[in-house]
């Protein structure tokens, strides 16, 4: 409080000196004016914050991957907020291109690194998307996706790796995640092998449902609730103390989004690479060695949302012979793979351009790319058109080093 008074002393002093009429007006406006500029009805969208963003000179624009590859003003963060604001205030209809724009975000939080308000643009947009859903105006393709998810409990049609069925007793649960199970099953197999080698008592989750990230991101909050309820019930009733996630986005959803809607997991939630580093440090896994240069790509969800930058690097450095390389844009200043925020589904063209742009930055450094997120891996595999680079998950590199 004292600090606040000190901070605003310049304003308080100036107000003291001002004329009575000005003083009255300022205080009146300070307390009341804002209400005029937000909708009277309750909205899911945080319109006050959206307005602040719409009044910002776009201080984060230079690092927004969508704006960078799209090269159009409408794709910049503040522009999205301007359109969102006009829609929420009823000045333009929730329709067509205006609604479409609300989905053009990779949810990578690059913008947040530079934002004076610490806004997550994705959060701002999710509120608007929830309003779009409530008005019954969600794009058809997204509704179909939601229905499919509700039916299959997986985002992809097939899931190649079935979960374990006897996991009730294990202290460590491995949450595989839909992307890894369906799209990069090698990663799941690798992780299972690594966990087996460690000799720990672990299991996968019977009836594992998608963590719900796609639903939450697209504004289907009621469905998201069901998924959160299901997964947290399963996990909390098990003996699990540690929940290890392959996908950092799943870990983020468990750690940050579930509690927001009332589901707190009892287990410690860890991204796989952090868990593996622990196993290496405890000598439960002993990397023998692997020759070669590898450049590490920080996944947005891991580095920015979970603030994990050093664990994957230490894990790689623990492998004798492996030479760790860095891109200029790394750690929390990493650049997105393009697949976050459901962009690969809502806007595949923008998404793949972002992937190509990132892979070319990584390629400049060396031809072995390691990441710690199945979605990034998938994005890079798709973008690796000329097959000039090899893309690995960090677990795969670790396993290779054991098998030597």
């Amino acid at each position: 409080m004292l600090d606040k008074i000190k901070k605003y002393s310049w304003l308080i002093d100036s107000l003291m000196e001002a004329k009575w009429s000005t003083k009255k007006e300022v205080v009146h406006n300070f307390l009341n004016a804002k209400k005029k500029y937000v909708p009277k009805e309750k909205t899911n969208a945080k319109v006050g914050d959206i307005l602040k963003c719409a009044l910002c000179p776009n201080m984060c624009r230079f690092d927004c991957p969508v704006a960078r590859v799209g090269n159009s003003e409408a794709l910049t963060p503040a522009a999205k907020s301007r359109i969102a604001y006009l829609m929420e205030m009823g000045e333009i209809d929730f329709s067509g291109e205006f609604v479409d724009l609300m989905y053009k975000c990779a949810g990578c939080d690059a913008s947040r690194e530079w934002c004076p308000f610490d806004f997550s643009v994705e959060d701002l947009l999710v509120g608007v998307r929830e309003d779009i859903v409530d008005k019954g105006l969600a794009p058809k393709a997204l509704l179909e996706l939601k229905d499919k998810l509700e039916k299959n409990h997986q985002i992809y049609d097939q899931s190649l790796i079935p979960p374990d069925t006897e996991a009730e007793k294990a202290r460590i649960l491995y949450f595989m995640g839909c992307t890894a199970r369906a799209k990069v099953p090698d990663v799941v197999n690798t992780n299972i092998k690594l966990l087996e080698k460690s000799g720990l008592d672990f299991a996968t989750i019977p009836d594992e449902w998608c963590c719900g990230a796609p639903l939450s991101t697209l504004g289907f909050k009621d469905s998201f609730y069901k998924f959160a309820e299901h997964n947290s019930r399963l996990i909390n009733k098990s003996k699990c103390r540690t929940l290890v996630c392959d996908c950092p986005e799943c870990a983020y959803v468990f750690r940050e989004l579930y509690p927001k809607i009332g589901f707190r997991l009892k287990a410690e939630i860890l991204p796989m690479n952090q868990f593996l580093l622990r196993l290496v440090e405890e000598n439960k896994i002993k990397p023998a060695g692997l020759q070669g240069e590898f450049v590490y790509h920080d996944p947005c969800a891991l580095s920015r949302k979970l603030n994990v930058c050093s664990a994957p690097r230490e894990l790689l450095k623990s492998i004798p012979g492996l030479e760790l390389k860095e891109t200029y844009f790394s750690h929390r200043e990493t650049r997105c793979c393009g697949m976050g925020g459901m962009l690969g589904i809502t806007n595949p063209e923008i998404s793949s351009k972002i992937g190509e742009s990132r892979i070319s930055e990584l390629k400049e450094v060396c031809s072995n790319i390691v990441t710690a997120c199945p979605t990034c891996e998938l994005a890079f595999k798709n973008a690796n058109k000329d097959k000039k680079v090899k893309v690995y998950d960090i677990s795969e590199v670790l396993l290779k080093s054991l098998e030597k």
Partner: protein
């Protein structure tokens, strides 16, 4: 002005509207020039390309208005396309407005007469970094931070770091003659420019030679600097760069008043020392930004950053410290400078205060040393005397052996009965009047745009008539950014 019941109003509506037939043929021809993927006449783009960061335009947003709508937006990919666009616009007498990243603060890119908005974003590459010559050649749509990060990656800096480095383009900076916060050492963008390419209003392309200096008549290319889109479109530029600084020293001192602080800075420069950053805040702004620095309470804080070659920086630091001590500056250490670095991009005033009906704006002017303190005092009191102004303070931030730039900030609220627009204009009127009376120049680096146009004639005198003649001969149909700079 039109403010419908539902929907948004438009402040500037062009008197002459394009006929439907003409619109169709022009749009078709534009698509042929740039390709359909680089053309849009969608409402969403028209809304987004309707304003820059002019505070009154931000106000209009709260009042459910957009300033002005272009007829269409194009994203050219090369100089030839731009030349063809301008030829077409001339043939059809359609306005053309160049667009960088809309961080301009005076309404420069607002398409007040509609027309074709030319966004340069898709010309955003670095074409060449020349290590031996220490130059970079780049396209105008390149974002400045992108440029600086790519230079840093290769071991250089351009030394051009305006507060809008995150949100402005190279072309926009050249077109407004912008100044970075490290300008006392590295110069303003005008000083950095070596050569450029531009398309003039009737489609002619000019290209100057990349040489350090020549004596070959007046420099036509330099006319593009500060022309704010009224004389053509800058399509490429070669600029000076520097090796990334080896060493940085951060110093800060508190002074009894602006006069003693300014005197100290003048003496540092007189010794031939050019710290990259020099910023002297008056008492009120010191209280606003450095309230944690106890030693600076009720004083004026001076921030110095010296950077470059290690040995030179050491010497410059020593001399600067001596001069500061001699002028009774109270040493405040690195802390306030680190704080400045950490907060210099926290641009929050418009977002925090506009919805509370409090209007903030900045006014930057320049003046020679002999008139500096009088100008500072008279501009502050002129602004304070306007009904509704709560605060008016300033810092001095770009320095020369001959003088200084003052950067004023005012905040206030229209008192009962007054329109926000009226209030805002009356503060500007008072500030500009007192600046001209005190012998200053009405703009140091933000430019003219819409807001300052009224004073440009008085500022330039007969030269303004010559500027008009030049404009008329290059752009007889006045297609390039009409209505700006009083042209």
């Amino acid at each position: 002005m039109n403010t419908p019941e539902k929907g948004y109003g438009v402040v500037y509506r062009p008197k002459k509207k394009l006929s439907e037939k003409k619109r169709k043929t022009v749009f078709k021809r534009l698509c042929d020039i740039v390709g359909p993927e680089n053309f849009s006449d969608k409402e969403i783009d028209k809304i987004i390309y309707s304003r820059d960061f002019w505070p009154i335009a931000l106000r209009w947003m709260l009042e459910r208005k957009v300033p002005a709508l272009p007829d269409c937006v194009v994203w050219p990919e090369n100089t030839k396309q731009i030349s063809d666009i301008l030829k077409l616009a001339n043939e059809e007498s359609i306005p053309v407005v160049p667009f960088g990243e809309a961080s301009g603060v005076l309404g420069g890119m607002i398409p007040v007469k509609g027309g074709i908005l030319v966004d340069l974003k898709r010309m955003n590459k670095i074409l060449k970094i020349n290590d031996k010559d220490l130059t970079v050649t780049a396209q105008p749509g390149l974002n400045l931070m992108e440029l600086e990060r790519l230079l840093n990656k290769e071991g250089y800096t351009m030394g051009h770091s305006p507060q809008s480095i995150y949100c402005s383009s190279l072309g926009g900076n050249l077109a407004t003659r912008a100044a970075g916060q490290f300008s006392t050492k590295y110069g303003k963008i005008d000083d950095m420019l070596i050569s450029l390419e531009a398309v003039l209003p009737q489609g002619e392309v000019i290209r100057s030679k990349t040489v350090p200096k020549s004596s070959t008549g007046p420099r036509i290319d330099k006319m593009m600097l500060g022309s704010e889109g009224t004389l053509g479109i800058i399509t490429e530029a070669t600029l000076k760069i520097w090796p990334y600084p080896e060493k940085k020293e951060l110093l800060s001192y508190a002074f009894e008043g602006m006069e003693s602080g300014l005197e100290c800075i003048r003496k540092i420069l007189r010794r031939g020392i050019f710290p990259a950053v020099i910023r002297l805040y008056d008492e009120k702004e010191t209280a606003f930004r450095f309230y944690q620095t106890g030693k600076a309470k009720d004083k004026c804080l001076l921030v110095l950053v010296l950077q470059g070659d290690k040995e030179l920086v050491e010497l410059e630091t020593k001399v600067s410290q001596d001069v500061c001590r001699k002028h009774e500056g109270i040493e405040c250490g690195e802390g306030p400078v680190i704080h400045w670095f950490e907060t210099r991009f926290n641009v929050k005033e418009a977002s925090d205060f506009a919805p509370r009906e409090i209007i903030f704006d900045t006014i930057e002017v320049s003046v020679t040393w002999d008139k500096s303190i009088e100008l500072y005092n008279s501009m502050i009191s002129a602004m304070e005397n306007v009904n509704g102004v709560i605060v008016a303070f300033a810092h001095a931030s770009h320095f020369y052996p001959q003088g200084v730039c003052f950067y004023f900030i005012f905040g206030g609220t229209p008192v009962k009965g007054a329109e926000p627009n009226e209030f805002y204009t009356s503060v500007w009127d008072a500030a500009m009047r007192s600046c001209l009376d005190a012998g200053g120049s009405i703009s140091h680096h933000h430019g003219i745009g819409l807001m300052r146009a009224r004073w440009l004639g008085e500022e330039l005198g007969q030269s303004f008539e010559i500027l008009k003649k030049i404009k008329k001969s290059l752009d007889p149909k006045n297609i390039m950014n009409p209505g700006k700079m009083g042209l």
